[in-house]
Symmetry: C2
Amino acid sequence: MQNIKASIITIGDELLVGQVIDTNSAWMSQQLNKAGVWVHRRIAVGDVWDDIWNTLDDEKEAADVILITGGLGPTADDITKPLLCKYFGGKMVMHEETLAHITYLFEHVFKRPMPLLERNRKQAEVPDVCTVLRNGVGTAPGMLFEKENKIFVSMPGVPYEMKHIMQVHVLPLLKNRFDLAHIEHRTLMTMGIGESFLAERIKDFEEALPSNIKLAYLPNFGMVRLRLTARGTREEVQQELDELFEALKARLTDVIVIDEDISFEVLLGRLLKETNKTVSTAESCTGGYIAHLITSIPGSSVYFKGSVVSYDNSVKKNVLNVTEETLTTVGAVSEDTVKQMIAGVLNVMRTDYAVAVSGIMGPDGGTEEKPVGTVWVAVGNNKSTVTRKFHFRFDREKNIQITAMNALYLLCTFIRENS
Amino acid sequence: MQNIKASIITIGDELLVGQVIDTNSAWMSQQLNKAGVWVHRRIAVGDVWDDIWNTLDDEKEAADVILITGGLGPTADDITKPLLCKYFGGKMVMHEETLAHITYLFEHVFKRPMPLLERNRKQAEVPDVCTVLRNGVGTAPGMLFEKENKIFVSMPGVPYEMKHIMQVHVLPLLKNRFDLAHIEHRTLMTMGIGESFLAERIKDFEEALPSNIKLAYLPNFGMVRLRLTARGTREEVQQELDELFEALKARLTDVIVIDEDISFEVLLGRLLKETNKTVSTAESCTGGYIAHLITSIPGSSVYFKGSVVSYDNSVKKNVLNVTEETLTTVGAVSEDTVKQMIAGVLNVMRTDYAVAVSGIMGPDGGTEEKPVGTVWVAVGNNKSTVTRKFHFRFDREKNIQITAMNALYLLCTFIRENS
């Protein structure tokens, strides 16, 4: 078994001016981990010759596999390819197969009326010291280099194209080339207990962990995820990890809300499919975000019928039948309102379950009585409704996210208890 | 004027197993850029002593300012603080002011019934060689170290707390300490032209750029953003950049859709507020994502009334009055359906404008006639409706995003042309 270390280098000024959030690295890390490759460092550098060169030098020392994304476009700010050519001591040659592929893409997929430009043709040029990794879904090919027993792969930064090259070429190549370790994770999510109190409760468990198993705490949104990570051969890892995970779960039964690394929207989908039931949402302050999370799951059309986003009070009244009296006396952010929203949306959407939220997300709109972060959530069916009030203390974006997460959690709990 | 380089080091295994997407670095980069500090590299390392230590060594050589986030929690996997203490040759001491602050937070903000644990008290310990940067919104204090004329700052990884410490302490300190360069960007967004054809059209413009101004191409979602970045003194930078930006715009009038670095939802809000009009959405395949984007903007309640997410055909019929005949003959993904959805949602929500979408986001649900990625979008008011058909070729997540972006773009265009 070989312990193979990888470094990920992402290239592009857009990463260093903060114009783009790097989602590629997280995805690549996940895939490498699944394959048994430990990601050692991730580095983002600009489109600057010396910075890229020095980073290649550094990572060559530290890792066995160096995966590079970005800087392969047809424009002048993209300097990765000539740099790699020089770094590995090659010269640029036309790769006819890639040129044919690019020509095909322009004619039949992009359907561009114009002929290939010189700069498009140039995308088919590669250093003669690399192995071309065909990019089935884009114009910039992947390139594989080997130097001093280290593997370097350069891929485009477009997520869709990078993923294609990783799946078709890079991951199979790594599995073939190395006797990779098996890396496996077990994750559970807790709610209602702070990170430090959680750590205190499982202190002896943590101290007794064998050296090949690590425990990590990931606090977010008022919840803490606990992750056990093991590395070894598949057989020894799985049994050991399963036993430890069961032991951990047994000690935290009162605070565990999910014992897998899945989101509440995935859990919701499972619960509804198992029982053949449907759901709808009535959203004020979350503005459709709960519906978006639910429908981000493939196949959600089986159990999700729809949503009324009642941002304005007129919609709460006219579509969801919230009474004028409620809105003028206790207001839109109240227990009465979310209860009536549940009744209203169940009636409009004809679903088995519904969730409703109303609150103040900020930065403005708060009052002394109902400060920013005040949220009412209701979940229910035709027989009963459960409500809960929250006080979040974050910015608008995070208040929306944490409201949606708690609403989905309450909904899952309600379904479990009422089906 | 000093050209100050920064490196950002993020610490945490969760970044290297891909369990968490790093949004901190992008935000920090933006803020540093605004302040005139060039971010040179961003590095993510695990909770591994040697890896952190070596990264500190590397970045100390390459940058003037090293900003570190993460690894400051109260649990055993968080090793940043003892490491920094050793790295800078200090010893741990109790920082009484921080302890008082933590005690206050637990009693009055978190409202924890339990007394402070030893591990909570430990969060108030800091190396005696650092300057404490008070964390007003959390328990882990920021720490400032100086060594060999380089500035190191350690902050918690919780985005909310990191942002607080950056804004209150770090950015003012950098502005005070250095005579910072002025870095400024101008961004425009184009649509309907590929990156290479765009580059060809402005080739001579790009080649004639002065050395302190860089042009970058950011293709995404079938659009290409062009960014001009200048660095110098405020006076020379602004005038030069404005002139070049105007020249660039003049050459691309037919393909520019926004001449600022703003999103379509921000543009939409401006257009509606200027004209005092309102909008609603009727969403099938985007499942509430367009409403979510619109309501992510503070103050959107002034112009956004609500949405009907009609995922199921019964909702299209019962709430939006799409006819049974349309749904059975041409189907839910059709021009007729989105036109009727517009009429329906305008009637239900009583807004001036509306946008409607219906399509197949995948991975399943496609047919030969209507493959995955087929989308109909309509935008309109009570007088007229404009429709458009798209064929996207991405995965579910990206199909949803690109549909929403195009829908918002069409909506903005419709409002501009009909107000």
